[in-house]
């Protein structure tokens, strides 16, 4: 189920909120967990079982780590619970590896073997939605418990709720266990929180429906076109640059808003990333929950900056490569991670400054934005060849095949472009609006939300050519 759908907005959400608030406070986590299983299993009920396996394994590992820690004798140098955290990592990364990367691995292997020794036959694995997010969350739980940064969860239903919680299940933010542990067992439900949650949800929905989805039409056509001229290549790339931000941040806003409606405070995920004056700054503002996760659970455990300059760059590079691969099982994502890692390393070499630090801030923002746009070409293109074609077109190297598909940018798309640019560079973030919520802002949001709802009805239309009502 997705948020911007009739079945979620008009059936699931009202029913869930009714059930949630009718449940006594002590049982609300369980209600939320059950609803999350319905939400998650809506399209593939069997994948709920997979999530349950992950939940049970990590719950048991967490409890076992705590038990070993409490049984540890003084003078014992071994770190208690190590085998359990290893088991949790093996299970979680094994699941992620199999479901997300097996196809990619076999395809790559076949591409290599195909040159000489034939290929392996393979039944394609279907990727369960949200597995990248909930495996990271369960990893954060066992690692935090192992490190002593969090107490093991006491009630299984709280852990079910943590793993399955539907608002951020599909697209984040990644909620680390130690940041939310207290809220799982005890949180307040106030009208103020609910109200702020509604506003965050409404803004998120408007961002997704009125900006991201419209610009997505342009981006989809651009990246499917056999060839584009320079202008269209830039339009397509810019459309995707705005689409991914408004889609992803809109979804995060909706998740944060839904969380607030249930009394949770989730981590923020975006902080005006396109006003960054360097790639380093960009990564402090873009997908913040992932950046923090990679820093705390990958970069620092690898050694971080504790083993000299060279090793620091290696750790940074590895982190970004794996971060790229986390986004999707394709070489384009690896290349995107390498691209981002390259600039992060270069900036670190330049003293944690951008490569163009001497320019005025406005110019630095523009240059960083251009670098980010080229990065998104790698991220969005179906393969490296297409990415190269698109990037070539953007710098003026255009190849024309027999049939060129026109990009067909319409008035409504130009309006969406203008609105996107205005919001990105002049307006505060959703979390700022929600944090300092004023009545007039809340009323400005209402027509936007209604417009989003109306437009969603418009785009939801299922057309038929041959029918009689």
């Amino acid at each position: 189920m997705v948020f911007a759908s009739a079945v979620f907005l008009y059936l699931f959400l009202p029913l869930f909120l009714t059930a949630y608030y009718l449940t006594p406070k002590g049982g609300r986590a369980f209600t939320l967990a059950l609803a999350s299983y319905v939400f998650y299993g809506w399209w593939r009920p069997d994948f709920v079982l997979l999530m349950l396996v992950s939940t049970v394994v990590d719950y048991a590992c967490g409890r076992s780590i705590a038990r070993e820690r409490s049984a540890r004798k003084e003078g014992d140098d071994t770190r208690p619970g190590k085998r359990w955290v290893v088991l949790s990592l093996v299970c979680n990364l094994g699941l992620l590896g199999y479901f997300k990367y097996a196809n990619f691995g076999i395809e790559t292997l076949n591409a290599v073997l195909g040159q000489s020794a034939g290929t392996l036959s393979w039944t394609e694995v279907v990727l369960p939605v949200g597995i990248s997010f909930y495996t990271f969350q369960t990893i954060s739980y066992t690692v935090d418990v192992y490190r002593g940064a969090a107490e093991p969860v006491k009630r299984f239903r709280d852990f079910m709720c943590y793993v399955a919680m539907f608002p951020q299940l599909v697209a984040g933010p990644i909620v680390r266990y130690n940041t939310i542990a207290d809220q799982l067992s005890s949180r307040t439900h106030t009208l103020d929180k609910f109200y702020r949650g509604v506003i965050a949800f409404q803004i998120g929905l408007a961002k997704k429906v009125l900006v991201a989805d419209l610009l997505g039409q342009v981006a989809d056509r651009a990246f499917a076109a056999p060839a584009l001229d320079t202008g269209d290549a830039w339009l397509g790339s810019l459309a995707y640059t705005f689409q991914i931000y408004f889609d992803f941040s809109g979804y995060s806003d909706m998740a944060i808003g839904l969380g607030l409606m249930m009394g949770f405070r989730f981590p923020i995920n975006f902080d005006r990333p396109y006003v960054s004056a360097s790639i380093t700054e960009f990564w402090r503002r873009w997908h913040i929950s992932l950046s923090r996760f990679l820093r705390d659970y990958l970069y620092i455990p690898l050694g971080g900056n504790r083993h000299g300059e060279f090793r620091t760059y290696v750790h940074l590079g590895v982190t970004m490569l794996l971060g790229g691969l986390w986004h999707g099982a394709a070489w384009t994502f690896v290349a995107w991670g390498a691209y981002q890692g390259f600039f992060l390393i270069m900036e670190r070499l330049a003293g944690k400054r951008s490569l163009y630090a001497s320019f005025p801030r406005a110019v630095r923002i523009l240059l960083t934005f251009v670098l980010v746009v080229f990065g998104w070409v790698l991220f969005r293109a179906p393969d490296l060849g297409s990415a190269l074609d698109m990037a070539s077109a953007m710098i003026g190297i255009v190849q024309r095949p027999t049939l060129v598909t026109p990009l067909d940018v319409r008035t409504i798309h130009l309006v969406a472009f203008a609105v996107a640019a205005l919001l990105v560079w002049t307006q505060p973030t959703t979390q700022t609006i929600v944090a300092r919520l004023k009545a007039h802002r809340a009323w400005i949001v209402q027509p936007l939300f209604l417009l989003a709802i109306v437009h969603l009805h418009f785009t939801d239309h299922v057309p038929f050519l041959y029918f009689q009502f």
Binding site: K193, F201, P267, T402, R410, T411, V434, L465, F467
Partner: protein, 610 residues
């Protein structure tokens, strides 16, 4: 943002004033009320027609909980039956249409409010096929149909319906290119293959394009239908002079209900919303066929044998095409065309009935060019040609064996995942690629129907050069024929046969082989060169032809640029292309070619179709 990155909430944690209460009430009221109205007061579902109805029925039958198809069906039903959507969508659609020239992502809004289906304007062009390739693929398909019909003594006239976006391209938004060369090259490719074809692009050239298609629909107007019917009769040689006809034409207004405004619904406008838009004068102009007493003639026959039959889609099923052909030919016409179906479906129905009543002498086959561009008629072609069950015991063209992925004679469980069934290795079959060679599968199915696909192997060059054929294999069937169709000859290309079940089935494969049911080789007798040695005559007489002798002649190069190969009736052919004509062939050759190759080496084989 807190140290942990959590969202911060300033203030004392209490909601002040009326705004929070009102905003929350508005939000909750809106979503809950929409849910309640759409659940307990939903709209009736639309009654679908043709292939949309069939697809909908199949979707409902195949909906399953565990693969998400049931949930998606529920979601689509919720949208289609949403009453609230009906209320809010009309004003918003009208605003977008009139103020921003926006019709949603499935439509292109042109000048003066003209609407076009986006998929018929901007090509979704997998494999980036060139216009020539698209046209050649379509022509190959239609010449296969002609081969089948000719083999049964039936003449075929093809009426390719040009795309609305091509005929009315001056009404498209600036910069939108519908690739009109596809429609032009399809005509050319059909003619080069000897298929009798009606050139409606030429016939429409002198008309006002605004009068030929409905502004807010997908179909042509009755004015365009009259022109098409007249040209079809002319091409078929059945056009009766006006003075000798027993009927006349009369201009009549047609009511709004008969005007095609389907694209308004496509953008989400209900009938009530559509009624708010002004009616276009051209859309209301109709043509009636009347008898000598001034009475409207009876609609064209929908069953029973007639000498002339019309098969096709909604373009000829509605808007009086059959009556108009009957008027121009001055004789009864059987209309088998059906709205919402593929042209090949109505052809199959005609054949099915012909088992009892016999075949017509002339079939007028209407095919929308949009269908050719988007491969649409093809899946049905394979089924049509195998369903009519005319394959007989004929010699196998090639002895090349398929590599089978399944054990013959062993029941194999199949699910919805596509699996390779058989592979024909490279270099095993050489043929003209226009349906002369079939892949014949024998075996049996228990359970859900199978979808069998004949596909080129995963090679980009082949993907552009040949069709993937799909046919359904239902329980009870023991044989399936899939014609191999490509734009040009296939010199030993590899092929794969893929199979999947629509749900769950057991499949027992007996054999996969190549068949050429109509192929029989005849030697060509080459007459000595005459005069300046530029003229060569080749003669072959098919034995006991069922139809007017059809010869498929293969001429091999190399040829110098600009070589002109001419048939006796002055049809211009492209070098190296397979042609079908009467058995007497005259090749005017240039001296250079004769000197380099010798005339007798040019003609290699001839196939007579019996």
């Amino acid at each position: 943002m807190t140290k942990e990155g959590l969202i911060e909430l300033e203030g004392d944690g209490r909601a002040h004033g009326v705004t929070p209460r009102l905003v929350c009430a508005l939000f909750l009221g809106l979503i809950a009320a929409t849910g309640l109205i759409d659940t307990f007061a939903s709209r009736p579902p639309p009654r679908l027609l043709g292939r949309e109805a069939a697809n909908d029925r199949r979707r409902r039958e195949e909906a399953r909980l565990f693969d998400g198809s049931l949930a998606r069906l529920f979601e689509d039903d919720t949208k289609v039956r949403s009453r609230v959507r009906g209320w809010v969508s009309d004003p918003w659609s009208l605003f977008l249409y009139r103020a921003l020239a926006e019709g949603g992502d499935k439509l292109v809004v042109g000048k003066d409010g003209w609407l076009f289906l986006r998929e018929r304007v901007v090509l979704d062009n997998p494999g980036h096929r060139s216009a020539e390739t698209i046209a050649e693929q379509g022509a190959a398909l239609l010449s296969t149909v002609e081969r089948w019909l000719a083999n049964h003594g039936v003449r075929l006239v093809v009426v390719p319906v040009p795309r609305k976006s091509v005929v009315c391209r001056k009404l498209l938004p600036r910069g939108v290119d519908p690739a009109p060369e596809i429609d032009e090259q399809l005509l050319q490719a059909l003619r080069e293959r000897g298929v009798t074809t009606v050139d409606l692009l030429a016939a429409f050239a002198d008309e006002r394009s605004e009068e030929l298609f409905f502004r807010r629909g997908t179909h042509w107007t009755e004015r365009a239908v009259a022109i098409a019917a007249r040209e079809a009769a002319r091409a078929a040689g059945i056009l009766v002079p006006e003075a000798e006809r027993s009927t006349r034409l009369r201009a009549v207004p047609i009511p709004p209900a008969r005007q095609d405004t389907v694209l308004l619904n496509y953008m989400g406008l209900s009938r009530e919303g559509a009624a708010l838009l002004p009616v276009r004068v051209e859309d209301s102009r109709g043509i009636d066929v009347i008898d000598r007493d001034g009475n409207s003639v009876e609609p064209a026959a929908r069953e029973g044998r007639r000498r002339i039959a019309v098969v096709g889609t909604s373009f000829t099923a509605t808007f009086g095409f059959g009556e108009l052909v009957a008027h121009f030919a001055d004789e009864d016409v059987r209309v088998e065309a059906r709205p919402g179906t593929f042209a090949m479906t109505s052809l199959a129905r005609l054949f099915e009935e012909a088992r009892d009543v016999g075949l017509p002498e002339l079939v007028i086959l209407e095919v929308p060019n949009s269908a050719v561009v988007h491969h649409r008629p093809l899946p049905r072609l394979a089924q049509v040609l195998s369903d009519i069950g005319l394959a007989s015991s004929v010699p196998v063209l090639s002895t090349a064996a398929f590599h089978l992925a399944f054990d013959p004679g062993t029941a194999t469980p199949l699910d919805t995942k596509r699996r390779m069934l058989a592979r024909l290795p490279e270099g095993a079959a050489f043929h003209s690629g226009d349906g002369i060679v079939f892949v014949r599968l024998t075996g049996s199915v228990v359970g859900a129907p199978l979808e069998v696909e004949l596909a080129p192997v995963e090679d980009a060059r082949l993907t552009r050069a040949s069709y993937a054929q799909v046919a359904t294999w239902e329980a009870g069937r023991t044989e399936l024929l899939l014609p191999i169709v490509a734009p040009a000859r296939l010199d030993g290309s590899r092929l794969v046969v893929l199979v999947r079940s629509r749900a769950s089935s057991e499949f027992t494969l007996d054999a996969v082989e190549l068949r050429a049911p109509f192929a029989a080789k005849l030697p060509l007798e080459l007459a000595p060169p005459r005069g300046d040695a530029r003229l060569v005559q080749a003669l072959a007489v098919p034995e006991e032809p069922r139809s007017a002798a059809l010869i498929e002649l293969e001429i091999q190069g190399p040829f110098p640029d600009g070589l002109l190969i001419r048939l006796a009736d002055d049809t211009v052919l492209v070098p190296g292309r397979t042609v079908k004509r009467d058995s007497v062939l005259v090749l005017p050759l240039r001296p250079l070619l004769l000197e380099s190759n010798g005339a007798t080496t040019l003609v290699r084989d001839a196939f007579a179709l019996r």
